[in-house]
Amino acid sequence: MCVAYPGIVEKIEGRSALVNFSGNIVRAASGFVAPQVGDRVLVHAGYIMQKVSKSEAEELQELFDELEQTVADKDRMKTNGSDDSGRRSDESEQERTTANEDE
């Protein structure tokens, strides 16, 4: 039951926010996130779990772009017979961690 879905914050009312999902308005608890009107947020069982920092399309594009590097590494791995994709993976993990630190 980890069904969570993204919507847009329309109004803040104390410890709750009205979130709009294509015309469906749900009142969700906002105490763990402090959203602002217009933010895209992820909602589960009546509470806001997190702000969504990018649209689905944007994020997919980024993930695919990062993967291009990994694919290139894999090809190199095959030809060299060695595994140096480890470094790349750790580096990209660092990137992702850093990107999220400004939450």
């Binding site: 069904v3 879905y5 999902f21 294509s22 015309g23 469906n24 308005i25 749900v26 909602v43």
Partner: protein, 328 residues
């Protein structure tokens, strides 16, 4: 007249007569009812289609409709799906004590209005009162005429046929559930009589028609695939779903393929007539969002295979769990 129904209204005496006269006959009109006979004698035809249905929807009034409109739509659509021209409808009411008379009047009014829209005459009625808590239940019988040459049945699909739907899926179910869970939105039930669409489809090579009710699109497709012994291949991305229903389903973890409608249908059509059929549906009332969603194949008999957005294949079954109680 008092404001609420009580046992005396079911006695068969003066109170019953007044109720019938002031609420039902007044709203329905029509020769057959005015004469207040025990049975109505009407013009017939060599081939008739008959259907019966009971309506127990709760709440009685929901966004986009009420039980009065619903009972006509459900009945008329069943007749239409067999290629019949709906002509007559009966309506037997079982009313629980405490039901508001004004609510009854509104229901009768909706029923009459929808009957007029669908071109059917209300020829018989019945009224009973039982102990209970303000509930209203309606049982109907529908009668339609079927022309000699028409042969439309669930088993009719042939390999190569096209699968069309007349519009967006899951609306009725979402409207009812929204009311029950108090989620605010503008989703309305799509309850509607599909007379125009079905009439047009009757005039081309339509092999099967079925309306999408409880259990949703997946259930109906599975029934048609099994009845015809063919495999249906559906393209998920082509199934129309409104943004509001899509997000409503997303919030609750529901799947629009399994959510019911009350004014949408599936048509299985000869491929040469598919384009014409789609245009006809889109040009008909209630069919603006009609779409071609798949095809019929010789394959695993009775299987419904959906191709997903990412290109995977999955088999659909009929609705497995409870779905939603009392949506129709």
């Amino acid at each position: 007249m008092s404001e609420r129904i009580s046992m005396i209204h079911g006695s068969g005496g003066a109170a019953t007569a007044a109720l019938i006269r002031d609420i039902f006959t007044k709203e329905y009109g029509g020769e057959a009812l005015e004469s207040a006979e025990d049975a109505s004698v009407v013009i017939g035809a060599p081939r008739i289609a008959i259907t019966t249905d009971s309506f127990v929807v709760s709440p009685l009034f929901y966004p986009g409709g009420d039980i009065g409109r619903l009972c006509v739509c459900g009945t008329v659509n069943d007749l239409l799906m067999r290629g019949a021209e709906p002509r007559y409808i009966t309506a037997g009411f079982v009313i629980e004590e405490g039901a508001e008379i004004e609510a009854l009047r509104q229901i009768a009014h909706s029923l009459a209005e929808t009957a007029r829209e669908a071109g059917v005459e209300v020829v018989c009625g019945d009224t009973k009162v039982v102990e209970g808590d303000e509930g209203v239940f309606i049982n109907t019988t529908g009668v339609g005429f079927v022309s000699e040459e028409v042969d439309i049945a669930a088993s009719g699909a042939k390999a190569g046929d096209c699968v069309l739907v007349s519009g967006t899926m899951g609306d009725h179910h979402a409207a009812i559930l929204s009311r029950r869970l108090a989620v605010e939105n503008s989703i309305e039930s799509d309850n509607a009589p599909l007379v125009e669409t079905a009439t047009k489809l009757r005039s081309i090579r339509t092999h099967s028609m079925r309306d999408v009710t409880r259990g949703g699109l997946a259930t109906v497709l599975k029934e048609l695939a099994e009845a015809s012994g063919k495999e249906f291949r559906i393209f998920e991305e082509k199934v129309p779903v409104s943004d509001a229903v899509r997000d409503f389903s997303g919030i609750l973890g529901l799947n629009p393929l399994y959510m019911g409608n009350e004014g949408k249908m599936v048509a299985i059509v000869d491929p040469a007539d598919a384009k014409h059929a789609l245009e006809a549906m889109r040009g008909s009332r209630y069919g603006e969002n009609a779409a071609l969603i798949g095809e019929v194949r010789e394959g695993e008999p009775g299987a419904v295979v959906a191709q997903t957005r990412v290109g995977g294949l999955r088999k659909l079954s009929v609705l497995q769990d409870e779905g939603l109680p009392r949506i129709c």
